[in-house]
Each structure stands twice: as structure tokens, then as C-alpha cells.
Amino acid sequence: MIFKTLVFGVIREAIAKKIFIGFFAISTLIILGFIAFVNFDSVEGIVTMSGDEVRELVLGFESFTLGVSYLLLITLCLIGVSSIIPSMLEKGNIDLLLSKPVSRSQILLGKFVGGLLLIFVSLVYLIGTIWLIVSFKFGYWNASFLSSILMLTFSFAVIYSLVIFIGITTQSSILAILINIFLIFLICPFLASREQVLFTFITGDVGHFIINFLYYILPKPNDLQTITGNIIKGEKVVSWQPVITSALFLITFLSASIFVFKKKDY
């Protein structure tokens, strides 16, 4: 009961701070842009297409959409939740929260689950609507596109665990945003393409070891995006390793956050 109150507290805060409205507005803009984009393609052409060709077209649209927006969506979500922990830690607020009959780990998990729920609901709206539009338009219903809602939520959860950790240790939302953007757009893409790019100018076993090591311990939004693409297209996923190591990252940072939170005086 108390846990539920904490989780819905996050949602209410997001509504009050217009984060929900923001997500809704941006999603709606994306959807409208998408509708305009889909309409460029003449409808008449479809009639003459074979089933396979329609399927290809739909999969193409869906993977293209995610290909363009995957990292941007996660960044948007990141910005949306970045203030949850710092605002919880404000003096006069955290004291009262800690005086309630709920453990510190539950408080933090409540904030985590609340943030996930917020993002999940927003993604259901965005991805769900795009799916409906594409499916209606072309008459091919590719349910596996919806799995990208879960994959995006998971990718976000991995990043969110780091946001929580930075929030608990530094109480800064800006720092959490900057570090994560740095990771998502600079470090992680480099590491993901280490074999094609980095290894051409970093040679030697030690260098390779360090880079591989970094690759395995850091989150892998790019690889998760690739896996999502595979799932949408019904292709075989080559390796689930990125999912597993990212999950370990999530668990590590969430546990570390709880550990730090439990020790601190407020």
C-alpha cells in the first residue's frame, strides 16, 4: 500500500511538473509527423503489391522509425525523470519521507518503478499509435513491433539506474543528464563499433582488453537498438549478451544507489 502510494506519487509529480503533458505533446508531434510522412507514399501503389512486399514495407517503416528515434526517445525520457531523485532529496521533504514506516530501499525502488511506469505509459501511447497507423494503412499487423515498447523501457531502465545513482550521490539532475548523454551519444556508440573503428587505431592486447572491458560493463543502448530491430523484423537475435550485461549494469547501479541511500544522514 505504502509502496503503491510512492509509485503513484511519482506519476502525480510528473503530471504536476508537466512532464507527462510534455511527453504527450512530443509524442503527438512525432505521430503527426509520421502520418504526414506515411501519406507521401501513394496509397494506390499498395493495391498492386504482393503480400510479401507489403510486409517488407511495413517492417521498413517500423524499423526506420525506431532507427531514427531510439536514442532520442531514451534521452527524452532521461531528461523527464532526471529531477525525481534531486527533488525527493530536498531538505524538508526527505526528512518527512524518512519518518514514514517504509524502508529506504523501498522508497528508492518506489521512485524507480514510478519512473518506469511513467515512461512505459508514454511509450505505449507513442509506439502503440504509430503501430496502429502503419497497420491500418497497409493492412499488415506486425505485433512484434510492440515489443519495442518493452525494449525501449528496458533500455531506459538501464540509463535510469545511473540517473538514480548520480542523483543520490550528487543531488544534481544536470550532472545526471550530461553524463548519460555523454555515454549514450559518445562513449557507447564508439564502444559498440569498437571492432570497426577503435581497433583500427588502438592496437595491442592491453588496449583491446581495456576497450572490451569498458564495452562489457557499460550500458549498450546501440546493441539493444539492434536487437529491437531484429525482433521487429522477425530476424534471429545473434546474441543476447547486451541484454544480460545491461541488466547487470542496472542491478549494480540500483543496488549501489540503495547502499549509498541507506548509509546517509539527511
Binding site: 530536498e90 521533504n93 519518518s99
Partner: protein
């Protein structure tokens, strides 16, 4: 029954990044609060009052010592369902209305939605905030916030209520209102722990007081015990003759206040009785004899002064 008890509490804070020296906020602090007490903790700013309350609520961890509340250790959060707390400078989420604040924090105290809904009106009425319950709290004045804060501290019908500087920043009228609320709570038999740097607050509502300075417990007891250490006696009499005045001044070092009143500084009943004998022998009527209480304020200033 002992509601709060601590033994040899010590709290050291980590110093700032630039000054590594540790700050000792509580030293060897042992005390207890009994059921039904309105306990006042008095001390200047920085004395460690807030730190003590935070230790009792598990918000801050003691460096050394033991704490028990309702006779149990505070390792398990369970006891907090029976506790209410008004933090110093509290900050409720400002997008909520007064009523929503009570619902939200009531439910965080473990109450059901139905329970908070049925009780919130009652408590809003006690603190006289009923008409504002649908207003967002960002529009509230400081006094209104404090009254809502007290309602929040009561919403789960706690057995023990902590109020940290409940009248801080509130105007005199608001202060009086808050004092009346506290007196109402006292009548309900709640155990209240009140922090204040204002003596008048404590003197008016508390039955037990502790004085804290620089983390140390200086004195503890009932208001009477703490304030009755004075030994000034005031005599009110019919007109004093010059002869009598001479005797009083020369033998007893009395301080005269006109022809009908004088003060004597003594602890000895024999001295008082011999003065009475002199007065009666000289046909002076004694209208009253009172022992001046050291007001808590004088007491407080004296004690803190001795410390420094």
C-alpha cells in the same frame, strides 16, 4: 510507560569538504519521555535539537549510543506508524492541495485511502484549515503551512508526535493559534515532543523540559523543578515604620520597594520566620509572602551563560 529513551547518544557529523574537523551535535545524551508527557526541548540555534529528533526518527544515524521508542529498538521502521512528525522548515510538494497533502502523507504512514479520507476533514477542522483544503499549498502563508503541517503530523492518529519549531516564522496571532492546538492535543493525552528555541512556547504548553546547549543536556525536569531554584521572597505588608525598615535593612539586607513591599534573598526558613516575628511584634500586617519563581527565561539565560 517510557515512550522515548536514549542512552549515551553521540552524534558526530562529517565536517565540510574544506574543513575536515568533525562537528559534534550531541554528546553523551541520555534522557527519557514518559507516556502523556508534553516534553519541551529547549536550546539556542545549533544546540542539536533537530539532530536529536532526526536520530529518534532514523533520519540521521547516531555515532554511538542506544535509542528505544515504545520500548523497542528503532532498527525496524514499524514504530513509525505510531509516530507523527512536523519537520523544521518542511516542504510539502507544492502542487498538492491541503487535503491532498494529508491524504498522501497519511497513506505513506500506512493508512488506507478510506481512513485518510474520513479523517482529513476532522484534522483540517482542528487546525482551522477547512476552508483552504481545496487550495494549492503554494498559496499558503507560513502560518497556514505550519497548521497544515501539524494536521499532517496527526493524521495517522499517532501516539507520539514530534514538532520541530512549530511556531518558527509565524506571526504572533498564528503562534497563539498553534499553541491552542498543542494544548488541545495535550488534553487528548498524546505524547508530544516539542523543539523550540523560544522559551515562552515551552513554558506555556510543556510539563517537562530539557535544556540543551552545544549538544549537551544541561538540565532536565518538570517546569517546577527547573524554575523553582530561585530564593527570592517578596513580602507584601501594611505600612512599614522607619524602625522596622531599619531592622530589615541592617539585619536582613532586604530590598525595599516602597513602604509596602520588600524582597529578601534567602534559602533559610528560619530567616523568613524571624522576619515574620519582627513584623508581627511591630504590628505590621503581612498581606502576602511569595517565593519568586525564576522564570524559565532567566533560568535558560543563566544556564546557557554558565556554559559559555
Amino acid at each position: 510507560m517510557e515512550v522515548i529513551s536514549t542512552k549515551n547518544l553521540k552524534k558526530e557529523y562529517q565536517g565540510s569538504r574544506f574543513n575536515k574537523e568533525k562537528i559534534t551535535a550531541l554528546k553523551n545524551f541520555s534522557f527519557n519521555v514518559q507516556e502523556g508527557d508534553i516534553f519541551g526541548l529547549l536550546g539556542p540555534n545549533g544546540a542539536g535539537k533537530t539532530t536529536l529528533v532526526k536520530v529518534l526518527l532514523g533520519i540521521v544515524y547516531p555515532t554511538e549510543g542506544e535509542v528505544s521508542i515504545f520500548g523497542d529498538s528503532i532498527k525496524n521502521e514499524k514504530y513509525k506508524t505510531r509516530v507523527g512528525y512536523l519537520p523544521e522548515n518542511h516542504k510539502f510538494p507544492n502542487y498538492l492541495t491541503g487535503e491532498q497533502v494529508l491524504h498522501y502523507f497519511g497513506m505513506l504512514s500506512g493508512m488506507t485511502k478510506a481512513q485518510v479520507q474520513s479523517r482529513s476533514d476532522e484534522y483540517l477542522k482542528i487546525v482551522d484549515m477547512e476552508k483552504w483544503k481545496k487550495t494549492k499549498i503554494k498559496k499558503y502563508s507560513k502560518g497556514m503551512m505550519q497548521r497544515l503541517g501539524i494536521a499532517q503530523a496527526m493524521i495517522n492518529e499517532p501516539d507520539l508526535i514530534f514538532l520541530d519549531e512549530p511556531t518558527d516564522g509565524v506571526d504572533p496571532i498564528g503562534r497563539k493559534e498553534i499553541r491552542d492546538i498543542l494544548i488541545g492535543l495535550k488534553e487528548k493525552g498524546k505524547t508530544i515532543f516539542l523543539n523550540s528555541h523560544l522559551l515562552s512556547e515551552i513554558e506555556l504548553v510543556c510539563n517537562r523540559v530539557a535544556i540543551l546547549n552545544k549538544g549537551e543536556l544541561i538540565k532536565e525536569g518538570t517546569i517546577d523543578e527547573i524554575t523553582s531554584t530561585g530564593n527570592q521572597h517578596t513580602f507584601s505588608t501594611s505600612d512599614l515604620s522607619d524602625a522596622v525598615i531599619n531592622i530589615l535593612l541592617s539585619q536582613h539586607f532586604a530590598t525595599l520597594h516602597g513602604k509596602n513591599e520588600f524582597l529578601v534573598n534567602t534559602e533559610s526558613p528560619e530567616v523568613l520566620n524571624s522576619i515574620i516575628d519582627i513584623l508581627r511584634k511591630n504590628n505590621v500586617n503581612i498581606l502576602s509572602l511569595t517565593k519568586e519563581k525564576n522564570s524559565l527565561e532567566n533560568m535558560f539565560i543563566n544556564l546557557i551563560g554558565q556554559q559559555n
